[in-house]
Each structure stands twice: as C-alpha cells, then as structure tokens.
Symmetry: C2
Subunit: 360 residues, 2 copies
C-alpha cells in the first residue's frame, strides 16, 4: 500500500528519501558488490561510512573539539546505567530532575549506582509542567545534574538549558536531539537513543566532554566504558554497523534540509499548527503548560472517551496511524519528529477538524 | 557491480535471498505502509515478527522448553560482562578455556567480576590445537565453565561438547551457531553475536536455562539482566528492532535450506573441499590440528609471503574479497559461514589452483 503518516513515538517514521536510498544500495553499496551490513567494520569502505556519520553529526550539532562523539550499542536505557558508571568519579550522589516517565526510568537505573537526589519533580501535577527553576534543590556534592529534555509520554519539553549551579550537566535528548540547535558547551554529556529522531533502534550517541572521562567504576562493562570506546573510535567491539550507516543517511538528509536551524523552523511550524488546532477547538484538549509543550510529541484528548476508538479507526482509514496515547495516559498522541513531513501534520489537522464536525 | 564472494570473518556475507527480501519490503512491510524499522516494538505487526523469529530459532536449534531465548542489544562483547554478572550466583570463581583471541577477550572481561581459573590453554601452541580434555583442570567451586566453540582467528573449532564435570557449561557460539545441530540440554547458557552466522551486527542471542536465572549482581545494567529481560520478552527497553527482523529473515532462509542437519552437511562439504585444496598442495598450508579445524574460518598460508599482496589483488579481481588473514596472524583466511554458497568455495578453490600453477 502507499506509505502512511506514522505518528509512532518510537521507533518512528523515517524520511522516505532515506529509506529509498537504503533500499537502492541494499545489495551493493558504492560498487563494492556487498551490502553495508556485510562489511567488516574494519574495512576501508565501512570506516569511511562511520567517519562521515560522525563528521556530519559534529557539523550539524556544532560539537566542540574537546567533546567525544560515541556510537554505542543499545539505546538510552543502556546509557541510564553507563552514565553513573562513567561519571560518578569517586562521588556517591547524583541529582536528577523528574519530568516524566523517561526521567523516572533514568532515576531507577541510577539508583543501582548512586544516591539519587531528586532536584525537582513534576509528579504532583501529573507531569504537565516543568517545576520553576527557582524551586530546584541541587547538591554541590553531586557528581552531575541529569534531566530529560523531552518527555515523549507527557509531551513536555525544556525550551532552555537549566542552570546547573556548576554541576556537570547531563541530558537525555533521545526524543528531541537534532530537532533544533543546542549549545553543546553547556553540557558535560548529552546522549540519545537513535529511534526517535536519528534512525532505527539499536544504537545510541553519547557526546561527552573529554575532561570527565577516565574514572569509570571498576565493574563497568567494556562496551559501556566511554574512555575505552573513545580510544577505539567506538569500535572496541563490533558496533551495530548497519544502524550506524542508516543513522548516517538520516544525518545526510538533515544536512540537505538545511541543518538544525531550518529543521527547527519547520518543527515549530508543525507543532504550532497542531497545538492551534487543539487550542482553537472546544472538542480537543492538551493539558500541558504552554511554556513547556513538546514540539515532538503532542498528546491530546477528547472529552467523550467513547469516541476514541472511532477516532483511531477513522484516522487509520485516512492513512494516519499510531495515534494512540501511551497506555499509561490514554487519549491520543501525535509524534511529529523531524521526519514527519508538514503534509502529515496538515493531514492530521484536517482530519481532526472533520472528525469534530461530524462528532463534536 | 555484481555481488562478490565475501569471505569476511564478520560482519560477513548474508544470503542474497535475504537481502533481496529486505530490499523489497524496505518501505512497506506486509501492506502496513511502513518499514519494519519505523514500527513501534509494541505494535502487533512487530511483535509478530519478533515472535516468529524466536519460534524459528527455537525450532531450528531444538531449544528445550525450560530455556529462555533472549534477543539483546550489542554483540558477544557485551555478554562477556553480562554472563558473570548473571551467573556468579554468590560464587566468586569462574573457569575459562583459552583456545584463542575470543576466549582471551571473554576472560579479560570476566576478570572484572570474578577470579578466573584457566582450565586449559592452547596459548603455548599458538592456538593450533585444543588441549586434550584429560589435561583440563576444573574447580568444583567455580560458578561455571566457559569455552568458545569456534575461534575465528586461529580457525579452531570444538567438534564435541566437553565434559564440564557437573559445572554449568557456558559457550560462546558467536561464529558457529546454527552451522550444525547442538544438544542445547548440555548447556546452562549459549550465546552468540549475530554478525557471523545469523544477521547484521547489533544484536546477540542468549539461550539460558531458567534455573540459573535470578541472582544477578546488584550493579547489573537492566538491559543485561537476563531475568528482567526474560520477564519482558527481551523488550524491557526498545530492542534493536530491525536487526531482530533481519535475523528472522536469516532463520526463515535457514529453514528453507532444510534446517541445521542440511546446513551442516553443506558446511562440511564446503570445508572439506577447501582443506583438501590446501592439504593436497605443497604451495598452501594450514597449521591447525585436523581434529579441531574450523568449518567456518579457514586460515591458510603460502611459504613465499612476498606473493601475498598479489594473491589478494588477483583474488579481488576475480570477485573473491576479504581473504586477508587477521592482522595478528597474517596470511589468508576464508570465512565460509552458512551464507557462503558452495559456488563461492568452488571459485576460491579454482582460483587457488590457478594461482599455484602460475606462481608455485
């Protein structure tokens, strides 16, 4: 059938042009007579692919020279453990901000390695607003301050970098990395699983300032030892080669779109259209504080929950799929990452208007 | 260009039919209007793909019902750490057999977690023979006995299951899994990275008997906690979904080939042809004890090393690529995993004969 508009929160839609390129060179990359997935990671062809992806990532995000960019197996959940293992550096405490389910998962894992201090939490308001920075409580003895820049389930996103009072700042950007320019120099470490905004699942990127490396806990698995991986160009072991290649194709596509400033303008326009459709209607609602609404994941509801199944079925029939809200919150959710074309958002907005007209 | 015969040790060649299928459904799997890599791992379509792969793996390897089959991110190197973390179960010692470079990597990682006793080692004979079982020294207090069924660099393979004197037996089968039938019931745990015989890099399979689960070290990253992953169908976190799907296509192909008995017959025939070409020639040599020669990786040499570059260049021109020996041992190596067609081995044997005629 024709390609659908896929609003899945992750793994999520990829640019059609990227998939077409992957398809066209699947059996023979660049005249080598083999697929990228059949290449030794030590081969000249593959090393070129890997290095190009790193160079493109560095250029897109303007990563300063004193940061390492690591391509590691697994996703963010592996890094939830790796981060304290690498960054405790003799300390015992860590600070985490809780703005939703992904924060909570990171916190649970950090507790295996450290005493976790919750600097702030939006749990009491069901994660519909980010606690005012003035109310956060940090501990100067903590190894770092961790936050989640975008929560895919609550639909809450930081739109500025929080002051960390001198603590090394660590951010899980899994669901909004590369959706806008970021001042990397404000962070000790940024990490992200690929499967929202960068590529298929199975690979994560860690951007880490060199000066925090080298004091891993003694029981750190080598594949998660940032220092060892940095010294080996992320090839201490065989990396997820095909995932890395596909991620590289997405980066190439992103450059063709004009880079992060251009994609941010597009993402803002897409999100503004969708929130306007919700806010300008008595039929739809979104509970999130407008100051921290996510441009990536837009949860919304209708008052008459009996109509939810009908909405989803009719949307699907119109080629708009995976609009179910997360099972923990219900309702609907449209994930509109970089790869969701504006035409997809337009089609959703049109569908919502039509549905309201019919059922509102 | 035309597809080459790719003798890479890993990542390695995949069945052309598998790649063609992946290509044909890359943008639209089964009429869903999306690529497998764009599917939520919780979606009905993707769960079906994942479950089919597990069912096929279980059927092919005849995995008993009291074993879990886990699909985990990363490759064998991650499991080098995960195995002691999961299987020490209050003990402090482990036993490892050293038959080559992969054994040594597993041992180095196990030392982060346990006192490693080397039960036997072929280091003194440059890993060209497996030490006689009668000479192994095991410790009844060890948590398990670990060995590597096939060493890709030395080209040494176990052709029977060693007696573990009642210790739980653990085997790294990364480079010969699914190349022949295996009596799983003799093992507490079998593991393998995918990128030799099962699919692209970035995913590993762990087959583990349920009774050894549940006593992980407290600092085990959740993604490597076998019990937690088993309870969550290997989806505690987002798995490497596309890698899992491709692995499933390889399993489907393997069923079409007639299963493991059929593929073993083919692998034996391929290896016999290549070893015969080496042994029947004064020009080529292989240093490995015939009793433990690998059917997967065949290292060979020529006396006049000045001719090595010419051999590789002419082979490449004939469409036979990645025949360089590992940098640590030099010479040549032909990896002839399941996916290497017999025609590829025939072409190599012919080429070797021609080269000998010209230069011998």
């Amino acid at each position: 059938m024709a390609r659908v508009y896929n609003f899945s929160a992750g793994p999520s839609t990829l640019p059609t042009a990227v998939l077409e390129k992957a398809r066209d060179e699947l059996l023979d990359w660049g005249g080598t007579g083999m697929s990228v997935m059949e290449m030794s990671h030590r081969s000249k062809a593959y090393v070129g692919i890997a290095e190009q992806a790193e160079a493109d990532f560095r250029a897109l995000l303007a990563v300063p020279a004193d940061y390492k960019v690591l391509f590691l197996p697994g996703g963010a959940t592996g890094q939830f453990a790796a981060i304290p293992m690498n960054l405790l550096r003799g300390k015992t405490k860590t600070c985490y901000v809780n703005t939703g389910i992904w924060s909570e998962k990171a916190i649970a894992e950090a507790k295996l390695y450290s005493e976790v201090l919750i600097a702030a939490s939006s749990k009491d308001n069901q994660h519909t607003a980010i606690p005012a920075r003035a109310d956060w409580k940090l501990d100067a003895e903590a190894a770092y301050l961790h936050y989640t820049s975008n929560e895919t389930i609550g639909g809450v996103e930081f739109h500025s970098v929080p002051d960390s009072e001198g603590l090394p700042l660590v951010c899980d950007m899994s669901s909004d990395i590369l959706s806008r320019p970021v001042d990397v120099a404000q962070y000790a470490l940024i990490y992200a699983g690929a499967q929202k905004n960068m590529g298929p699942a199975g690979i994560a990127i860690v951007v880490v300032r060199e000066d925090v490396l080298g004091q891993t806990l003694p029981f750190t698995p080598s594949i998660f030892d940032y220092k060892k991986q940095a010294e080996n160009g992320s090839m201490l072991n065989t990396p997820p080669t095909y995932n890395w290649y596909l991620l590289g194709l997405v980066l190439e596509w992103l450059k063709e779109q004009g880079g992060l400033a251009a994609i941010e303008a597009l993402n803002t326009r897409k999100a503004d259209k969708l929130y306007a459709a919700i806010d300008n209607s008595p039929f739809y609602s979104n509970p999130v504080d407008p100051a921290c609404r996510s441009r990536m994941n837009v949860p919304f509801r209708i008052a008459n929950t009996d109509l939810e199944k009908t909405f989803l079925a009719e949307a699907k029939a119109a080629g708009l799929v995976n609009l179910e809200g997360h099972r923990s919150v219900g309702g609907f959710r449209a994930s509109i990452y970089n790869a969701m074309p504006e035409a997809g958002v337009d089609a959703l907005v049109d569908f919502m208007a039509g549905f309201e007209k019919q059922h509102g």
